[in-house]
Structures are given as C-alpha cells and as structure tokens.
C-alpha cells in the first residue's frame, strides 16, 4: 500500500507538478540559452507584455462568459439527454446514442462552415450566443456520455425512490440526482471549460472578431520564439478553468445535504 502511494506521488511529481513548476519558472525568467553562460534571470517582462495588451482583459471576460454559457447549456442538455438514455427504453436507442456522439467524429471545422452560413441568415453570426452555440458542438457529446453513465450507475431504484415518496421532478433533480452525481458534474465542468477555452478556429469564424476570446490572442503568439512570453500566456490561460472550477465547486455546496468544508460534521 505504501509503495503504491509512493509510486503515485513520484509519477505525479514527475509528470504533473514538475512541468507546471517549470512553466512558472519560465514565465518569470528571461529566455534561457543552452551554454550561454547565463544563470537564471528573474524578470516580470513577460507578464508586462501581457497585461497592458488592452484586449487581454476583454478577451478574458468573453472567454469566461462563453465558458459559463457553454457549461450551463451542457448541464441542461447533458442531464436531460443522459437521464432519458439511461432510464427510457425505445426503438432505435443505439442509433440515437451514436448520433449524439457523431459531432466528435466529424471535424468541427467542416460543421462550422455550414453553420456559419446558417448563423448569418439567423442573425447569430458575430454574437456571443452564436459562439456559445457553436461551442456546444465539440462539448455536448462528452456531457451526454458522462451523465448517461452517471445515471446508469445510480440505477433505476435510486431514481424511483423520490418518485415513490412523491417528489416533483425538479425536487428529484436537486435533492437526489444532483447531490449523487457530483463527480460527473465536476468532470463535465472541467471538460467543457477546457474544450471551449481552446477553440480557436470556430470562435474566430462565428465570433467574426466581435467576440475575441483568449485563444485568439494567444494562438498567434505560438509563432514567437520567445518562450517566456509563451509561458506567461500559458499560466494566465490555466487560471480560467481553475477559477471556474472553484466557482462550480462553491455552487455544489449549495446543493442540499452538502457537507460544508468549514463545519466539522463528523
């Protein structure tokens, strides 16, 4: 048991903590050259390049708005579809499941071209709503899948219990289903935010430059040889999913039967 734990800690250190630390160090130092004879140079210039960029804050704002919108819609659609898939049985269910997964299999860009045409006609192009909707394409299949599995794990008996006790559908959802599905909610949160945050091409096509999200500022900088600026951007980029995750974690505490971390309920 202890050996296993040790191996886990070692692997985690090597593959996760070390790279992140390296990234942090890189963002606070000037670019390092092999055999240049220079030692570590502490500097804040990489972040100073970043912050005054007038559109950075605006882009961060839009990224958060889009991410939150995408997350909300994913929760609603994922829970509804996941529950239906795991509790109802009907003809053609396997086909429907495959259809739900298909957006992952078809290149998003191919879908985006066609959808752009439609969105222009619908007046959704160049709007936040349009961007949120297009971000559903690469995220929703995963959400449906995760909630489907989660409901399957809960089992029909657990779901029948509140009905027997006479709870209304929404009451069922908030008092039984959601508290029991916290792990699924956490995975969906992280997955959707990260996927939505890294969409470059479809955001720029549908957002049309009106909605400028972080990757639109970040990705062109991949062409720079200045590794420090890249590292600073990456650190900033990582803050958003982290912050959103913490917010969602806070919201989860509002669910009934949640144990408050500051209260010792043992």
């Amino acid at each position: 048991m202890n050996v296993k734990k040790l191996i886990f800690i070692l692997v985690a250190l090597l593959l996760f903590v070390m790279p992140v630390l390296l990234l942090l160090l890189q963002s606070f130092s000037s670019p390092w050259r092999f055999q240049s004879g220079e030692s570590f140079h502490f500097q804040l210039t990489s972040f100073q390049v970043l912050w005054p960029a007038s559109n950075l804050w605006e882009a961060t704002f839009w990224s958060v708005v889009v991410g939150a919108g995408v997350l909300l819609l994913n929760m609603v659609v994922g829970i509804a579809a996941g529950k239906a898939l795991s509790t109802l049985s009907f003809k053609g269910k396997p086909l429907l499941e495959v259809l739900f997964l298909s957006p992952v299999l078809i290149p998003v860009l191919a879908v985006a071209m066609g959808l752009h045409l439609f969105m222009i006609q619908a007046g959704l192009a160049d709007t936040v709503l349009g961007v949120i909707l297009i971000h559903l394409v690469p995220t929703i299949p995963y959400s449906i899948r995760i909630f489907h599995n989660s409901y399957a794990q809960l089992g029909n008996r657990m779901l029948e219990q509140p009905i027997v006790l006479g709870a209304a559908p929404l009451q069922q959802l908030f008092t039984v289903e959601l508290p029991l599905m916290k792990p699924a909610i956490r995975s969906v949160t992280f997955l959707t935010i990260v996927i939505s945050l890294s969409q470059y091409a479809i955001t720029s096509i549908i957002g049309g430059g009106r909605i400028v999200t972080l990757p639109m500022i970040f990705f062109p900088f991949l062409d720079t040889a200045n590794t420090s600026v890249m590292a600073a951007f990456a650190v900033w980029f990582a803050m958003i999913p982290l912050a959103m995750y913490i917010i969602v974690e806070g919201l989860l505490l509002l669910l009934p039967y949640s144990r408050m971390p500051w209260r010792n309920t043992r």
Partner: protein
C-alpha cells in the same frame, strides 16, 4: 400534436428568414470614392474602424494600439479597433458572408498580400479601386512603382494600398562566424566545413519556401528569367535540376544530416536561440532587433545577404466588399500611409519595419528624420538592402517548389 409542431417550425423558419433579410442598405463603394476627400474625412469623424490583422507580434500590436489609435482619435475622431485574426480565416469569413449575401459586415480594413490578395481579388471579396484617391499616396509615393502595381504577380488595380515592405535576410552569430558567406556557392562550402550548423525550414513554411526561391534565383544565370516570367515547368527544368542538386549535395551536412527540417521559422529560431545552429533567416530585415532585445537571440547576432540578392515584397491594406464604414477605412488607410505614421513604424521601438514611401518626395526636414533613424546594429544599411533587392516571383512558384521539394529532396 404533430400539426402544432409543424406550425411552430413554420413560424420559426419564417422568423429566421425575416432576421436574415433585415440588412441595412449597402452604400455602394464607388459612390463613396466619388466624394471629395474632405467629405470622406468628415463622414469618418466619430466612427469606429475595425482593422483585422494577424496578431502574433507584440511590436506590431503596440504600434497599432499605442501609436496609431490615439492619434487617429485625436486628429480624425476615429476609434480604431484592432482585431487579431489569421488572414486566411478573414478571407474565409468574407467568402461565407458573400455567399450568404451579408452586405453589412464587421471588417473595415484587412492586411494582406501575395496569395491572400490573389484569392480575395479572384473571389471579389474586396471593395474596389481606391488607392489613387488617397492624398498621401499621391503626394509621397512613387505611384508607378512596379512594386505597387503587382503583388506576387497579381495586378493590384488600386485595390490595396502599400503599407510596408520587407526584405529577406539571413542572421548569424558574429561570435561564431567571422565573415558570413557572400554567395550560395560559399554557403555550400561553409556548410561542408561546419556540418550540422545550418538548416532551413521546410518548403511548406513561408520562410523555408522563400529560402528555396533564393536558391532557385541563384541557380539561374539571370534571376530576372524567374521573376519576370510566369511559371513554365519546361522552361526552367534545367535550373530546377541545378536547384535540387545543390540542395541534395548540401543535405548530408545539414543539421541532423538533413533528416529533419524545422516545420516553422519559430522552430528554426529556437534552434538558433539555443545555439544548435549558427544561422537563421527571415522575411524581415529588422526582425532580429526585438529578438535580441528580449534576450532570445544572442547580442552578437548580425544579418547578411548573399549574391545574387535578397527577395523583398510589399504588403498592403485593403477594404473588404462589405465594410460597414468605408469612409472611416479610407481615412485610416490614408493616415497609415502618412510620413508621420511611416516614420514611427520605421523606428525600432515598435515595429522597425521598412517604408514603401519615396524619400525624395518628402519635404527636406521629414527626409532627414527618416534618414537619421537608427534601425539597430543587426540591420543592414539601407544602401546595401536596396542594392541587393530582388522582386518576388509569381505566386505559382511557391506551390511548385512545395510539391517538387518534397519529391526531389526529402524522398531522396
């Protein structure tokens, strides 16, 4: 039940269709350009202009945001909004908008040249001819300069205004190489003596392809045979053979024995930055300055050009067909072409890029200001650059080199 759904979907479709048609009436571009210049400037006052451009260089971004935007606001009442987007995607967006009949777009100015201009022009994504009506262009530019008349072999027909020009140079580390090679033959000899110290990006990369075009120019007796003629594979087959021979002879002595070519210039720059190779290159004679400042390149970095010369090109600003504010776009472009704006662009603190302006057309005082700009030690003198200038060949060569290089060099 199903009837209800049918009704609903009919209503929804009608609603969407109605949305699609609520487009404001388009102001015809030729009507705009028929106005007098002062009318255009007046109409532009108080408007917002959206400039869509590639955003991967902090110096360029700062030049727009910190230098140009406040001055446009002050002098013309124009709010300039810079939107970072890849040129290919901008054109894709315009193409779809054209298809959808969207007459009221979001883009007022785009920054482009070469292949992108050719695409835009062929697909009628640009508003039309406007360059000749810009007062600054008439006054300070050599309007008949062939560099403004054609863009990688495509006639510009006044649809884009020259904003800047760049020239291809090689960079080397002075502390490692005393005298850089002065011709492609010498480069090959140098590579032989210093195996593993040189590599070029692969042919699909913009810079790698430009390097190969230089070699092609060098293998021909008269480089003008290449750039003055459209691509004819049979005509140049002799030169092409020499080109592939040259590259294949060099290959075993390249970095990693030529088994791997950097995919992008960025990769090559990193190799150079880490001292793995001793030379890099790039399509901008002044680009090493900011990289040295940031500490990415060693301070001993200098640049050089080789016989027969170095290829240069002009890049342009243009107005898309569905610009919602073409008066503002015209005023802004005219401002970007002004001597003041070009001078600030030349100074190394923001962008440090060369100007297409004609120095002898400037008033004496202004000319002296241009001539006194210190572009930095890593930049070659204006005279040297002008002497070695070679024009770009037709856009068709780019693709031809891409395909052939893979067959003739990589697979050998």
């Amino acid at each position: 039940m199903s009837k209800k759904w049918l009704l609903l979907s009919v209503i929804l479709t009608a609603f969407l269709a109605a949305c699609g048609n609520t487009q404001s009436n388009e102001s015809d571009f030729s009507e705009v350009t028929e106005q007098s210049w002062s009318d255009i400037e007046n109409a532009a006052d108080g408007t917002t202009v959206r400039l869509f451009m590639w955003g991967g260089d902090e110096g360029i971004n700062q030049y727009i945001d910190e230098w140009a935007a406040p001055r446009l606001k002050e002098n013309y009442g124009i709010t300039l909004e810079r939107v970072p987007m890849e040129t290919a995607e901008i054109l894709q967006k315009l193409q779809t908008e054209k298809q959808a009949g969207k007459k009221d777009g979001t883009i007022d100015i785009i920054w482009l040249n070469g292949e992108n201009f050719k695409n835009a022009k062929e697909n009628e994504l640009l508003a039309g001819s406007f360059v000749d009506m810009l007062p600054n262009f008439q006054e300070y530019y050599d309007t008949d300069d062939p560099a403004f008349q054609t863009d990688f072999g495509t006639a510009t027909e006044g649809m884009e205004a020259p904003w800047g020009k760049v020239q291809f140079v090689f960079h080397y580390d002075q502390s490692k190489i005393e005298t850089p090679p002065s011709s492609f033959e010498e480069l090959k000899n140098w590579v032989e003596k210093n195996p593993g110290e040189f590599i070029y990006p692969n042919a699909e990369d913009f810079t790698g392809n430009a390097f190969l075009r230089h070699v092609l120019y060098a293998q021909d007796e008269q480089p003008s045979d290449i750039y003055e003629q459209p691509l004819d594979e049979e005509d140049i087959s002799g030169t092409a053979d020499k080109l592939w021979n040259y590259l294949n002879e060099m290959k075993p002595n390249l970095w990693r024995n030529g088994e791997h070519y950097p995919n992008t210039l960025t990769e090559l720059d990193r190799l150079y930055s880490q001292g793995e190779v001793s030379m890099t290159m790039g399509y901008n004679e002044a680009r090493a300055e900011s990289l040295i400042d940031e500490g990415v390149f060693p301070e001993t970095t200098r640049s050089f050009v080789m016989e027969p010369g170095s290829i240069g090109n002009t890049h342009f600003l243009s107005i898309p067909f569905n610009s919602p504010n073409s008066e503002g776009a015209l005023t802004t472009i005219n401002f970007m072409l002004s001597p003041e704006a070009q001078l600030a662009k030349l100074k190394p603190n923001y962008w440090g890029e060369n100007t297409p302006i004609s120095l002898d057309k400037l008033p004496k005082e202004m000319r002296e200001k241009f001539e006194s700009v210190e572009r930095g030690e890593s930049v070659l003198s204006q005279q040297k650059l002008e002497e070695s200038f070679l024009p770009e060949s037709e856009a068709g060569y780019v693709e031809w080199i891409q395909d052939q290089w893979f067959n003739e060099v990589v697979q050998q």
